[in-house]
């Protein structure tokens, strides 16, 4: 883009790129390395970047001793329920938003931007009070409800884009051939929408999986805690030897979103998803 830079220019560019790679990469390498270090190496005065005697003991310990296993199961349950529910609720609405003009639709999409502005603390107290009134405070069901509502604006926005990409002519052709409305939706729209539904479900799953604040405030029973909350509690336990299982647990907690991002990598690098915030 800038024509042919000089030799020194090129060198400077590579130096800068190396700087970025170190800044972005080394903390990650450190997490992975810590996760595979045996306790003996963790308490050593001068730790090394590469574990000299790697072990998977930390992963075993993280899931047996620290009850991260149960927390991971809780997270899995809550995230799966959120994903399924978000898709079920968003599917009809996004179809309506994409195919018919409606002021309600515009309002719903406007809420996406507006809701970003408000700090969670304004929402959390009334939400807590509402959930307590209907007996859903301190339950996974309550948490799932919040996650679905929280994921909905973006899910609607994303899914209606997928609906718009299905040519209307296909639906019309099917109904000319005598298919009922429900049949058109089930046989024509639904199969073509499948990739969009998967993307929406993944988005909702990851938001729920990563979420911390609502889970921290709404869930009081330790046995019901989700993975981020359990990990944050784990941080409080001091002692250098504990760092191994902590790193191992953190690494596993990152896996679902890493898989998601690998899945979306092509769209991310082409910028079509990044454009989501371009307004």
């Amino acid at each position: 883009m800038f024509g042919k830079p000089s030799r020194t220019g090129r060198t400077l560019q590579y130096v800068a790129l190396a700087g970025y790679l170190i800044f972005l990469g080394f903390p990650l390498v450190w997490l992975v390395s810590t996760a595979f270090k045996p306790p003996r190496e963790l308490v050593r005065l001068h730790p090394t970047l590469i574990p000299s005697d790697p072990t998977v003991q930390n992963f075993v310990q993280a899931f047996t001793e620290q009850e991260l296993g149960r927390a991971a199961l809780n997270s899995l349950q809550v995230s799966l329920a959120s994903a399924v529910l978000t898709v079920l609720v968003a599917m009809p609405a996004s179809y309506a938003l994409a195919r018919f003009r409606s002021k309600l639709g515009t309002a719903a999409l406007g809420w996406v931007l507006l809701s970003q502005l408000f700090p969670f603390v304004l929402l959390i107290i009334p939400i807590f009070l509402v959930l307590r009134q209907v007996g859903l405070a301190n339950t996974h069901a309550g948490l799932v409800l919040i996650y679905v509502v929280w994921a909905l604006p973006f899910a609607l926005w994303m899914l209606q884009g997928f609906v718009r990409n299905i040519p209307r002519e296909l639906e019309e052709a099917a109904s000319v051939d005598g298919a009922s409305r429900v049949q058109v939706l089930r046989r024509v729209v639904f199969p073509l929408l499948a990739p969009g539904l998967v993307a929406t479900a993944l988005f909702s799953f990851i938001s729920a999986w990563n979420e911390f604040f609502f889970a921290l405030v709404l869930i009081k029973t330790p046995e019901l805690a989700t993975l981020p909350v359990a990990l944050a509690r784990f941080v409080g336990i001091e002692g250098t030897a504990r760092l191994g299982p902590l790193a191992a647990g953190s690494l596993l907690a990152t896996l679902p979103s890493l898989i998601f991002f690998a899945f979306m990598q092509r769209r991310l690098s082409s910028g079509s998803l990044a454009g989501a915030v371009k307004g």
Binding site: G3, L21, A108, L117, V130, S250, L268
Partner: protein
């Protein structure tokens, strides 16, 4: 994704074309929208309005506590609350610091990634990984890097023979806030980079080539061709980054929980403590209201200046 303008067939659903089905279509639309709109109303719009209202009451934790409207009493108290002012100042330093550094570093990386360089693929993948991590894990990761005994940073200073630089980064009064800001930059840089990169790819090649033929230097071309074309993207992403940073919670909660001695007590952490440690719901909500107003005011000033520059 296609826009409305590109699909004129959307219009065909309008009432003019099919007057007979108009009524049933409308009922159908509402039925389709209801499952989405109802939960948003009950668990998002309503709580937000009630939250704003709570800021004008003396609401407290507990089941049968009477709540009464107190007008501006909370705000008068906030004005005289030294802890609030302190936390607010820290919040501003954090949000501005993170947003500005994030933007500058992301712009540099985006410009590099837009070149034909080797290792570009690796850099692109690495640039996205922090984005994929849950905030809590980012916090834990950097706690490991900053760890006074087993940390990467202190070990690095030992290896290069600068043992004097070794310190308890998150526990020291003078280094805690800068250390936390660096983590904020690391965590938020990927998204900003991807957005800026997408913007860069939209900058016309022809303009660059024309400017190059006219003998403009690299810097001149960046300043007068790339930057103006990128401005709308820059304004949008820096505004969003600022809002997200000002409202961020999980990262710093895990890193320092506001310590040492309140040196990293961001407004969100302060509000959390007020609400859920001390049970002062009304006071915490008032704090939230003040934060919204301040964010809107700061953004208005910023956007107006950008707009004036553009004209």
């Amino acid at each position: 994704m296609t826009t409305l303008a590109e699909r004129p067939d959307v219009e065909r659903a309008g009432p003019a074309r099919r007057p007979s089905r108009f009524r049933s279509d409308r009922t159908a639309i509402y039925l389709l929208l209801l499952p989405s709109l109802l939960p948003i109303l009950v668990l998002s719009v309503f709580p937000l309005l009630r939250g704003i209202y709570l800021g004008f009451t003396d609401a407290r934790a507990g089941r049968n506590v009477e709540v009464s409207f107190t007008g501006l009493a909370n705000y008068r108290e906030l004005l005289g609350d030294e802890l609030f002012w302190n936390s607010f100042k820290i919040g501003l330093v954090w949000a501005l610091g993170v947003t500005v550094l994030q933007f500058l570093l992301a712009l540099g990386l985006a410009l590099l990634l837009n070149q034909q360089l080797r290792f570009r693929g690796v850099a692109r993948v690495l640039a996205v990984v922090p984005w994929a991590m849950p905030p809590v894990v980012v916090g834990i990761l950097w706690k490991l890097v900053y760890h006074p005994d087993a940390g990467l940073l202190n070990e690095f200073f030992h290896r290069i023979g600068a043992d004097g630089m070794r310190t308890n980064w998150l526990g020291d009064f003078s280094t805690a806030l800068p250390a936390v800001i660096l983590v904020g930059v690391w965590a938020g840089m990927p998204q900003t980079t991807v957005v800026l990169l997408a913007g860069l790819q939209g900058v016309g090649r022809e303009l660059h080539e024309a400017a190059a033929v006219d003998g403009a230097s690299t810097w001149h071309r960046f300043r007068h061709v790339t930057l103006p074309a990128l401005t709308p993207v820059i304004v949008a992403i820096t505004s969003l980054d600022f809002i997200w940073n000002f409202n961020s919670f999980g990262l710093v909660y895990v890193l320092t929980a506001g310590g040492p001695g309140g040196k990293t007590m961001l407004p969100m952490l302060f509000a959390y403590e007020e609400a859920f440690r001390y049970g002062n719901y009304g006071y915490a909500a008032a704090l939230g209201n003040v934060m919204v107003v301040l964010i809107i005011a700061l953004l208005a000033v910023y956007l107006r200046r950008r707009l004036r520059e553009a004209n």
